[in-house]
Amino acid sequence: MSKFRNLISIDDLSRKDIEHILSRADEFLDVARGERKLRILEGRILANLFFEPSTRTRMSFESAMKRLGGDVINLGSLEASSFAKGESLADALRVVEQYADCIVLRHYREGSARFASEICSIPVINAGDGAGQHPTQTLLDLYTIKKEARLDNLKIALVGDLKYSRTVHSLIKALALFNARIYLVSPDSLKLPEEILEMDIDFVESDLKTAIEEVDVVYVTRIQKERFPDEEEYRKVAGSYRITAEMLESSDAIIMHPLPRVDEIAYDVDGLKNAVYFRQAFYGVPVRMAILAEVLL
């Protein structure tokens, strides 16, 4: 594969690129767990620029950088920053690149990370741009699937908000490279957009019960209350996609969730072997270590 300088969109990566990052993540697993020390990024500084809150993504980047011996600087509170005074993103980036060796950017505008990569002389990693892309989440999802199930010829159910979830859209694009069969489980109002359905991948409309019986992976997303006109409508739908321990009695499917969950996975699932969502959060660290090593070394 060609070594990449920025990571902006999952669309920029080939299957070979993805496999390369995932096998590199394997090399960092024990370091991510704190079982082995590595100082390969000693003296390097990562700037976390989060214009929207995302505690897990920010912390896992911090953890990844520090486990590799590097340091992290943060934007701090937006209210107290120059952005509150009306500074442009472009100016902020041009300043921050004077202080750091790499920028992780989360911004509410779609395309902001691509723009940042064009004006910065240091690598930029996209940690979510509006409803656009979140490629490191997709890579950690793929890594979880690889570690806990298998990537090739996978049967996976995507459950919940398939319309607005960028996590789901990017994951589908990546899974298309691995010959997956995708079961779609969602309320009518939150179905997958047409342009994604048109992709060359095997889609099956399904109900939750059938999907759990037939698939290797159940990927659950939060149904966002704010998408519904009234709370009662939301309650009806949210309840129908709740996974409980009882439903998994005769299933080996692993349950994934990008987190945070609200009520779509019952707490009694947490203790089952099926539940991998907290390990999925952990896998974000070796995957982000692999990405940081890729762009910084």
Binding site: S9, S88, E110, G111, R114, F115
Partner: protein
């Protein structure tokens, strides 16, 4: 057959085989606007054996660059260009789709970074040609199907 009522030009560019009704958009693409100094003549809805009806634009005293002309293909893929010198056609060619365009289309996604007035960014699109011409924003990925609606 109706005769064209616009006269020949001495030097300049003639853009022929523009789909009927698109001449004004063609002028916008090549930068001819209210207040521009070019001498322009235009015929709309002229009979055409090839297209049924077509528009024609003649720009006197201006040789429009090939790259600029290729942008016309976004809305007029069949357009032909005649470069005129001393009333003679010295070069004739068809437009071809550019791979990308910058600064002539506006992204329909209001939340795209290219629509943020504070940022020094020029909207840039990759051009795809499958079932018609489609422009895809290189920043947010949004596809534009009705290109003439988003000309700057």
């Amino acid at each position: 057959m109706n005769l064209l009522t616009i006269s020949k030009i001495k030097d300049g560019t003639v853009i022929d085989h523009i789909p009927s009704g698109k001449a004004l958009e063609v002028l916008r693409i090549i930068g001819v606007r209210s207040g521009s100094k070019e001498k322009v003549s235009m015929a709309m809805n002229v009979e055409s054996s090839k297209m049924g009806r077509k528009d024609i634009v003649k720009v006197e005293g201006k040789y429009i660059g090939e790259e600029e002309l290729n942008r016309i293909s976004l809305i007029a893929p069949e357009a032909t260009i005649n470069i005129i010198e001393n009333y003679e056609i010295v070069r004739k060619f068809k437009v071809s789709l550019p791979e990308r365009v910058e600064g002539i289309l506006k992204c329909p996604n209001r939340n795209c970074i290219s629509n943020d007035p504070r940022e020094p960014v020029l909207a840039r699109f990759r051009i795809e040609n499958s079932d018609g011409v489609v422009a895809r924003c290189e920043y947010c990925g949004k596809k534009v199907y009705e290109i003439e609606k988003y000309l700057v």
